[in-house]
Symmetry: C2
Subunit: 195 residues, 2 copies
DNA sequence: GCAAATTAATGATTTATTCAAG
DNA sequence: CTTGAATAAATCATTAATTTGC
Protein backbone atom coordinates (compact mmCIF):
# COMPACT_ATOMS: atom_id res chain seq x y z
CA UNK A 1 0.00 0.00 0.00
CA UNK A 2 2.60 2.51 1.05
CA UNK A 3 4.28 3.42 -2.21
CA UNK A 4 7.75 3.87 -0.75
CA UNK A 5 8.21 0.42 0.69
CA UNK A 6 7.12 -2.64 -1.16
CA UNK A 7 5.00 -5.02 0.78
CA UNK A 8 7.59 -7.67 1.13
CA UNK A 9 11.29 -7.93 1.53
CA UNK A 10 13.31 -8.14 -1.64
CA UNK A 11 16.77 -9.44 -0.92
CA UNK A 12 19.68 -7.77 -2.61
CA UNK A 13 22.14 -10.01 -4.47
CA UNK A 14 24.72 -9.59 -1.75
CA UNK A 15 22.26 -10.55 0.94
CA UNK A 16 21.16 -13.53 -1.06
CA UNK A 17 24.71 -14.56 -1.68
CA UNK A 18 25.57 -14.43 1.99
CA UNK A 19 22.49 -16.30 3.01
CA UNK A 20 23.13 -19.00 0.48
CA UNK A 21 26.70 -19.27 1.54
CA UNK A 22 25.66 -19.78 5.12
CA UNK A 23 23.08 -22.29 4.06
CA UNK A 24 25.63 -24.16 2.03
CA UNK A 25 27.87 -24.05 5.04
CA UNK A 26 25.36 -26.08 6.96
CA UNK A 27 23.26 -23.52 8.77
CA UNK A 28 19.62 -24.56 8.69
CA UNK A 29 17.73 -23.25 11.69
CA UNK A 30 19.45 -20.23 13.16
CA UNK A 31 18.42 -19.29 16.64
CA UNK A 32 17.36 -15.84 17.61
CA UNK A 33 20.86 -14.67 18.42
CA UNK A 34 22.17 -15.85 15.11
CA UNK A 35 19.23 -14.27 13.35
CA UNK A 36 19.98 -11.00 15.02
CA UNK A 37 23.61 -11.13 14.07
CA UNK A 38 22.85 -12.12 10.52
CA UNK A 39 20.28 -9.38 10.25
CA UNK A 40 22.67 -6.83 11.62
CA UNK A 41 25.29 -7.84 9.14
CA UNK A 42 22.99 -8.06 6.16
CA UNK A 43 21.36 -4.75 6.93
CA UNK A 44 24.55 -3.22 5.66
CA UNK A 45 23.57 -4.28 2.17
CA UNK A 46 19.98 -3.19 2.31
CA UNK A 47 16.83 -3.02 4.34
CA UNK A 48 16.16 -6.25 6.14
CA UNK A 49 14.50 -7.48 9.29
CA UNK A 50 14.93 -10.49 11.48
CA UNK A 51 11.79 -12.15 10.30
CA UNK A 52 13.10 -12.01 6.75
CA UNK A 53 16.12 -14.02 7.76
CA UNK A 54 13.97 -16.36 9.74
CA UNK A 55 11.57 -16.95 6.86
CA UNK A 56 14.35 -17.24 4.36
CA UNK A 57 15.91 -20.15 6.17
CA UNK A 58 12.57 -21.78 6.76
CA UNK A 59 11.59 -21.58 3.14
CA UNK A 60 14.97 -22.45 1.77
CA UNK A 61 15.19 -25.56 3.89
CA UNK A 62 11.67 -26.62 3.09
CA UNK A 63 12.03 -26.09 -0.64
CA UNK A 64 15.33 -27.82 -0.72
CA UNK A 65 13.77 -30.84 0.87
CA UNK A 66 10.81 -30.62 -1.44
CA UNK A 67 13.05 -30.39 -4.46
CA UNK A 68 14.89 -33.47 -3.29
CA UNK A 69 11.67 -35.30 -2.64
CA UNK A 70 10.40 -34.46 -6.07
CA UNK A 71 13.55 -35.67 -7.69
CA UNK A 72 13.54 -38.85 -5.68
CA UNK A 73 9.91 -39.53 -6.43
CA UNK A 74 10.49 -38.98 -10.10
CA UNK A 75 13.34 -41.38 -9.88
CA UNK A 76 11.15 -43.85 -8.08
CA UNK A 77 8.46 -43.45 -10.69
CA UNK A 78 10.85 -44.21 -13.45
CA UNK A 79 12.21 -47.13 -11.52
CA UNK A 80 8.74 -48.47 -10.85
CA UNK A 81 7.74 -47.95 -14.41
CA UNK A 82 10.75 -49.88 -15.53
CA UNK A 83 9.89 -52.62 -13.08
CA UNK A 84 6.34 -52.60 -14.26
CA UNK A 85 7.49 -52.71 -17.80
CA UNK A 86 9.64 -55.68 -16.98
CA UNK A 87 6.77 -57.29 -15.15
CA UNK A 88 4.46 -56.70 -18.05
CA UNK A 89 7.14 -57.98 -20.23
CA UNK A 90 7.74 -61.12 -18.30
CA UNK A 91 4.35 -61.82 -16.75
CA UNK A 92 1.81 -60.38 -19.12
CA UNK A 93 -0.88 -62.79 -18.04
CA UNK A 94 -2.24 -61.51 -14.74
CA UNK A 95 -4.68 -58.64 -15.10
CA UNK A 96 -5.37 -58.30 -11.41
CA UNK A 97 -2.57 -55.90 -10.62
CA UNK A 98 -4.09 -52.57 -9.88
CA UNK A 99 -2.25 -50.62 -12.58
CA UNK A 100 -2.51 -47.48 -10.51
CA UNK A 101 0.18 -47.74 -7.87
CA UNK A 102 -0.07 -45.08 -5.23
CA UNK A 103 3.05 -42.99 -5.27
CA UNK A 104 4.17 -42.61 -1.72
CA UNK A 105 6.54 -39.77 -1.61
CA UNK A 106 9.20 -40.37 1.00
CA UNK A 107 7.80 -38.47 3.92
CA UNK A 108 10.82 -37.92 6.08
CA UNK A 109 14.40 -38.99 6.17
CA UNK A 110 15.65 -36.74 3.42
CA UNK A 111 16.90 -34.26 5.90
CA UNK A 112 20.49 -33.35 5.64
CA UNK A 113 22.56 -33.34 2.52
CA UNK A 114 25.54 -33.72 4.80
CA UNK A 115 27.91 -31.51 3.01
CA UNK A 116 30.75 -32.04 5.47
CA UNK A 117 31.00 -28.50 6.84
CA UNK A 118 32.39 -25.94 4.53
CA UNK A 119 35.14 -23.88 6.06
CA UNK A 120 33.72 -20.45 6.45
CA UNK A 121 34.30 -18.85 9.76
CA UNK A 122 30.73 -18.20 10.75
CA UNK A 123 31.66 -19.59 14.07
CA UNK A 124 28.63 -18.97 16.18
CA UNK A 125 28.31 -22.31 17.82
CA UNK A 126 25.42 -23.93 16.10
CA UNK A 127 25.26 -27.65 16.30
CA UNK A 128 25.23 -29.85 13.33
CA UNK A 129 22.55 -32.48 13.15
CA UNK A 130 25.24 -35.10 13.32
CA UNK A 131 26.87 -33.93 16.47
CA UNK A 132 23.57 -33.15 18.07
CA UNK A 133 23.44 -36.62 19.56
CA UNK A 134 26.34 -36.22 21.94
CA UNK A 135 27.54 -33.37 24.10
CA UNK A 136 25.10 -32.81 26.93
CA UNK A 137 22.98 -35.88 26.79
CA UNK A 138 20.48 -34.65 29.32
CA UNK A 139 19.36 -31.58 27.44
CA UNK A 140 19.36 -32.72 23.89
CA UNK A 141 17.27 -29.89 22.60
CA UNK A 142 18.61 -26.90 24.41
CA UNK A 143 20.15 -25.64 21.24
CA UNK A 144 16.93 -24.01 20.18
CA UNK A 145 15.21 -23.00 23.31
CA UNK A 146 15.12 -19.41 22.22
CA UNK A 147 12.34 -17.64 20.46
CA UNK A 148 11.17 -14.73 18.54
CA UNK A 149 8.74 -11.96 18.57
CA UNK A 150 8.60 -9.01 16.32
CA UNK A 151 6.02 -6.81 14.86
CA UNK A 152 5.18 -4.28 12.21
CA UNK A 153 1.46 -4.53 12.40
CA UNK A 154 0.91 -1.63 10.07
CA UNK A 155 3.02 0.56 7.89
CA UNK A 156 5.95 2.09 9.72
CA UNK A 157 4.55 5.55 9.10
CA UNK A 158 1.22 5.31 10.84
CA UNK A 159 1.20 8.02 13.49
CA UNK A 160 -2.15 7.06 14.87
CA UNK A 161 -2.45 4.82 17.89
CA UNK A 162 0.78 6.13 19.26
CA UNK A 163 -0.01 5.41 22.84
CA UNK A 164 2.70 3.35 24.49
CA UNK A 165 0.71 0.17 24.82
CA UNK A 166 -0.51 0.61 28.32
CA UNK A 167 -2.19 -2.21 30.08
CA UNK A 168 -5.74 -1.43 29.27
CA UNK A 169 -8.36 -1.35 31.92
CA UNK A 170 -10.67 -3.79 30.34
CA UNK A 171 -10.94 -7.54 30.90
CA UNK A 172 -14.23 -7.73 32.72
CA UNK A 173 -14.01 -11.51 32.82
CA UNK A 174 -17.12 -12.27 34.74
CA UNK A 175 -16.56 -15.94 34.35
CA UNK A 176 -18.47 -17.97 36.84
CA UNK A 177 -16.99 -21.39 36.28
CA UNK A 178 -13.30 -21.86 36.41
CA UNK A 179 -13.05 -25.13 34.64
CA UNK A 180 -16.09 -25.39 32.42
CA UNK A 181 -15.34 -28.11 29.97
CA UNK A 182 -18.36 -27.72 27.75
CA UNK A 183 -16.80 -25.29 25.37
CA UNK A 184 -17.85 -27.25 22.32
CA UNK A 185 -20.91 -28.83 23.75
CA UNK A 186 -23.41 -26.89 21.68
CA UNK A 187 -22.52 -28.57 18.46
CA UNK A 188 -22.80 -32.27 18.83
CA UNK A 189 -26.20 -33.16 20.17
CA UNK A 190 -25.54 -36.81 19.53
CA UNK A 191 -26.50 -38.89 22.48
CA UNK A 192 -23.57 -41.24 22.27
CA UNK A 193 -21.70 -40.13 25.32
CA UNK A 194 -18.84 -42.52 24.93
CA UNK A 195 -16.46 -39.76 25.92
CA UNK B 1 18.10 -27.72 35.38
CA UNK B 2 17.96 -24.46 37.25
CA UNK B 3 15.76 -25.27 40.20
CA UNK B 4 14.23 -21.82 40.46
CA UNK B 5 12.61 -21.62 37.07
CA UNK B 6 10.91 -24.54 35.45
CA UNK B 7 11.69 -25.06 31.83
CA UNK B 8 8.27 -24.20 30.55
CA UNK B 9 5.54 -21.79 31.37
CA UNK B 10 2.90 -23.01 33.76
CA UNK B 11 -0.18 -20.84 33.58
CA UNK B 12 -1.84 -19.76 36.77
CA UNK B 13 -5.57 -20.39 37.08
CA UNK B 14 -6.34 -16.72 36.57
CA UNK B 15 -4.25 -16.55 33.45
CA UNK B 16 -5.89 -19.66 32.13
CA UNK B 17 -9.31 -18.33 32.93
CA UNK B 18 -8.69 -15.09 31.09
CA UNK B 19 -7.21 -16.81 28.10
CA UNK B 20 -10.12 -19.19 27.88
CA UNK B 21 -12.58 -16.36 28.20
CA UNK B 22 -10.98 -14.55 25.33
CA UNK B 23 -10.92 -17.70 23.29
CA UNK B 24 -14.56 -18.30 24.01
CA UNK B 25 -15.17 -14.72 23.00
CA UNK B 26 -13.91 -15.51 19.55
CA UNK B 27 -10.26 -14.57 19.60
CA UNK B 28 -8.25 -17.14 17.69
CA UNK B 29 -5.12 -15.64 16.20
CA UNK B 30 -4.06 -12.54 18.06
CA UNK B 31 -1.62 -10.32 16.29
CA UNK B 32 1.52 -9.07 17.88
CA UNK B 33 -0.10 -6.00 19.38
CA UNK B 34 -2.81 -8.03 20.95
CA UNK B 35 -0.31 -10.53 22.21
CA UNK B 36 1.64 -7.77 23.83
CA UNK B 37 -1.40 -6.33 25.49
CA UNK B 38 -2.58 -9.70 26.68
CA UNK B 39 0.84 -10.49 27.99
CA UNK B 40 1.03 -7.20 29.79
CA UNK B 41 -2.28 -7.83 31.43
CA UNK B 42 -1.65 -11.43 32.31
CA UNK B 43 1.78 -10.70 33.71
CA UNK B 44 -0.05 -9.21 36.64
CA UNK B 45 -1.07 -12.72 37.66
CA UNK B 46 2.28 -14.37 37.17
CA UNK B 47 5.32 -14.72 35.04
CA UNK B 48 4.45 -14.89 31.39
CA UNK B 49 5.92 -13.99 28.05
CA UNK B 50 4.49 -13.14 24.67
CA UNK B 51 5.46 -16.42 23.17
CA UNK B 52 3.45 -18.19 25.83
CA UNK B 53 0.34 -16.35 24.77
CA UNK B 54 1.12 -16.99 21.14
CA UNK B 55 1.64 -20.69 21.70
CA UNK B 56 -1.37 -20.97 23.89
CA UNK B 57 -3.68 -19.71 21.18
CA UNK B 58 -2.01 -21.83 18.55
CA UNK B 59 -2.31 -24.97 20.59
CA UNK B 60 -5.76 -24.27 21.86
CA UNK B 61 -7.11 -23.61 18.43
CA UNK B 62 -5.43 -26.64 16.95
CA UNK B 63 -6.57 -28.95 19.69
CA UNK B 64 -10.04 -27.62 19.54
CA UNK B 65 -10.19 -28.37 15.87
CA UNK B 66 -8.72 -31.76 16.45
CA UNK B 67 -11.23 -32.53 19.14
CA UNK B 68 -14.03 -31.50 16.82
CA UNK B 69 -12.60 -33.59 14.03
CA UNK B 70 -12.41 -36.57 16.26
CA UNK B 71 -15.98 -36.17 17.38
CA UNK B 72 -17.17 -35.75 13.84
CA UNK B 73 -15.26 -38.74 12.64
CA UNK B 74 -16.66 -40.87 15.41
CA UNK B 75 -20.09 -39.63 14.50
CA UNK B 76 -19.44 -40.39 10.88
CA UNK B 77 -18.25 -43.85 11.76
CA UNK B 78 -21.40 -44.59 13.66
CA UNK B 79 -23.47 -43.12 10.87
CA UNK B 80 -21.67 -45.16 8.26
CA UNK B 81 -21.97 -48.26 10.32
CA UNK B 82 -25.67 -47.68 10.61
CA UNK B 83 -25.89 -47.12 6.89
CA UNK B 84 -23.90 -50.21 6.30
CA UNK B 85 -26.14 -52.11 8.60
CA UNK B 86 -29.15 -50.87 6.73
CA UNK B 87 -27.55 -51.72 3.45
CA UNK B 88 -26.74 -55.17 4.63
CA UNK B 89 -30.25 -55.38 5.92
CA UNK B 90 -31.93 -54.27 2.73
CA UNK B 91 -29.54 -55.44 0.05
CA UNK B 92 -27.91 -58.52 1.43
CA UNK B 93 -27.31 -59.94 -2.02
CA UNK B 94 -24.48 -57.95 -3.55
CA UNK B 95 -21.10 -58.92 -2.25
CA UNK B 96 -19.19 -56.48 -4.40
CA UNK B 97 -19.31 -53.54 -2.03
CA UNK B 98 -15.91 -53.05 -0.65
CA UNK B 99 -16.85 -53.44 3.03
CA UNK B 100 -13.89 -51.33 4.07
CA UNK B 101 -14.88 -47.72 3.57
CA UNK B 102 -11.98 -45.37 3.94
CA UNK B 103 -12.64 -42.95 6.78
CA UNK B 104 -11.97 -39.54 5.43
CA UNK B 105 -11.64 -37.25 8.34
CA UNK B 106 -12.90 -33.83 7.38
CA UNK B 107 -9.64 -32.13 6.62
CA UNK B 108 -10.65 -28.51 6.61
CA UNK B 109 -13.85 -26.61 6.90
CA UNK B 110 -14.34 -27.19 10.57
CA UNK B 111 -12.78 -23.90 11.31
CA UNK B 112 -14.84 -21.52 13.28
CA UNK B 113 -17.43 -22.36 15.84
CA UNK B 114 -19.03 -19.01 15.04
CA UNK B 115 -20.16 -18.14 18.47
CA UNK B 116 -21.61 -14.77 17.49
CA UNK B 117 -19.22 -12.58 19.47
CA UNK B 118 -19.63 -12.67 23.17
CA UNK B 119 -19.88 -9.25 24.73
CA UNK B 120 -16.74 -8.83 26.69
CA UNK B 121 -15.10 -5.54 26.17
CA UNK B 122 -11.76 -6.75 24.95
CA UNK B 123 -12.19 -4.32 22.14
CA UNK B 124 -8.91 -4.45 20.34
CA UNK B 125 -10.06 -4.58 16.80
CA UNK B 126 -9.43 -8.09 15.74
CA UNK B 127 -11.27 -9.29 12.73
CA UNK B 128 -13.53 -12.24 12.79
CA UNK B 129 -13.05 -14.87 10.17
CA UNK B 130 -16.51 -14.07 8.93
CA UNK B 131 -15.89 -10.44 8.29
CA UNK B 132 -12.50 -11.17 6.92
CA UNK B 133 -13.97 -11.53 3.47
CA UNK B 134 -15.00 -7.93 3.10
CA UNK B 135 -13.33 -4.71 4.13
CA UNK B 136 -10.25 -4.22 2.00
CA UNK B 137 -10.71 -6.80 -0.66
CA UNK B 138 -7.27 -6.33 -2.13
CA UNK B 139 -5.31 -7.27 0.96
CA UNK B 140 -7.29 -10.09 2.38
CA UNK B 141 -4.60 -11.25 4.70
CA UNK B 142 -3.25 -8.03 6.06
CA UNK B 143 -4.86 -8.68 9.37
CA UNK B 144 -1.88 -10.65 10.52
CA UNK B 145 1.07 -9.19 8.77
CA UNK B 146 2.93 -8.90 12.00
CA UNK B 147 5.35 -11.29 13.51
CA UNK B 148 7.38 -12.16 16.42
CA UNK B 149 10.86 -12.43 17.59
CA UNK B 150 12.02 -12.94 21.07
CA UNK B 151 14.76 -14.71 22.83
CA UNK B 152 15.98 -16.17 26.03
CA UNK B 153 18.77 -18.24 24.66
CA UNK B 154 20.03 -19.25 28.05
CA UNK B 155 18.91 -18.97 31.63
CA UNK B 156 18.21 -15.44 32.76
CA UNK B 157 21.06 -15.65 35.26
CA UNK B 158 23.94 -16.49 32.99
CA UNK B 159 26.48 -13.73 33.35
CA UNK B 160 28.78 -15.10 30.71
CA UNK B 161 28.61 -13.92 27.13
CA UNK B 162 27.41 -10.55 28.24
CA UNK B 163 28.67 -8.70 25.24
CA UNK B 164 26.01 -6.53 23.66
CA UNK B 165 25.66 -8.53 20.48
CA UNK B 166 27.92 -6.54 18.27
CA UNK B 167 27.97 -7.20 14.59
CA UNK B 168 30.83 -9.59 14.40
CA UNK B 169 33.56 -9.17 11.91
CA UNK B 170 33.26 -12.51 10.30
CA UNK B 171 31.37 -13.45 7.17
CA UNK B 172 34.25 -14.04 4.80
CA UNK B 173 31.90 -15.20 2.07
CA UNK B 174 34.31 -16.15 -0.60
CA UNK B 175 31.53 -17.40 -2.77
CA UNK B 176 32.44 -17.81 -6.38
CA UNK B 177 29.08 -18.53 -7.93
CA UNK B 178 26.12 -16.39 -7.17
CA UNK B 179 23.35 -18.65 -8.25
CA UNK B 180 24.77 -22.13 -8.14
CA UNK B 181 21.83 -24.40 -8.44
CA UNK B 182 23.73 -27.61 -8.11
CA UNK B 183 23.41 -27.75 -4.37
CA UNK B 184 21.67 -31.05 -4.62
CA UNK B 185 23.14 -32.12 -7.91
CA UNK B 186 25.35 -34.82 -6.51
CA UNK B 187 22.48 -37.08 -5.70
CA UNK B 188 20.42 -37.75 -8.75
CA UNK B 189 22.42 -38.98 -11.68
CA UNK B 190 19.26 -39.78 -13.57
CA UNK B 191 19.43 -38.66 -17.16
CA UNK B 192 15.79 -37.77 -17.71
CA UNK B 193 15.94 -34.02 -17.87
CA UNK B 194 12.24 -33.47 -18.22
CA UNK B 195 12.44 -30.51 -15.88
C1' DG C 1 -0.76 -42.89 52.68
C1' DC C 2 3.13 -42.46 49.41
C1' DA C 3 6.51 -42.83 45.98
C1' DA C 4 7.70 -45.18 41.61
C1' DA C 5 5.60 -46.14 37.21
C1' DT C 6 2.27 -44.99 33.54
C1' DT C 7 -0.63 -42.20 31.22
C1' DA C 8 -2.84 -37.91 29.84
C1' DA C 9 -2.43 -32.79 28.93
C1' DT C 10 -0.29 -29.35 27.14
C1' DG C 11 3.66 -26.10 26.33
C1' DA C 12 7.26 -25.61 22.71
C1' DT C 13 9.39 -26.69 17.93
C1' DT C 14 9.62 -28.17 13.59
C1' DT C 15 7.59 -29.32 9.14
C1' DA C 16 4.15 -29.03 5.57
C1' DT C 17 0.94 -26.42 3.18
C1' DT C 18 -1.19 -22.38 1.46
C1' DC C 19 -1.60 -17.62 -0.13
C1' DA C 20 -0.16 -13.99 -2.77
C1' DA C 21 3.41 -10.47 -4.70
C1' DG C 22 6.44 -9.75 -8.45
C1' DC D 1 7.05 -19.75 -11.86
C1' DT D 2 9.64 -18.35 -8.03
C1' DT D 3 9.56 -17.14 -3.39
C1' DG D 4 8.44 -14.25 0.78
C1' DA D 5 4.91 -14.55 4.32
C1' DA D 6 1.65 -16.83 7.16
C1' DT D 7 -0.93 -20.50 9.09
C1' DA D 8 -1.99 -25.30 10.11
C1' DA D 9 -0.50 -29.86 11.20
C1' DA D 10 2.63 -32.94 13.23
C1' DT D 11 5.88 -33.86 16.50
C1' DC D 12 8.77 -33.48 20.59
C1' DA D 13 9.22 -32.93 25.55
C1' DT D 14 7.89 -31.81 30.13
C1' DT D 15 4.67 -31.36 33.65
C1' DA D 16 0.16 -32.95 35.98
C1' DA D 17 -2.87 -36.73 36.93
C1' DT D 18 -3.53 -41.30 37.74
C1' DT D 19 -2.64 -45.83 38.77
C1' DT D 20 -0.22 -49.49 41.13
C1' DG D 21 2.37 -52.08 44.51
C1' DC D 22 3.81 -51.79 49.04
Amino acid sequence: MSPTGSSRWCPTPEQLMILEEMYRGGLRTPNATQIQQITAHLSYYGKIEGKNVFYWFQNHKARDRQKLRRKLSRQLMIQQQQQQFQQNHFLPQFPNCTTTPVWFLPQGGVEDVSRPMVSHSWNVDYHHPAERCEADKSTTRTYSRDWMMMMDHEGPTSPCCNRPLKTLELFPITATSLKDECTTSNHIPSSTSTN
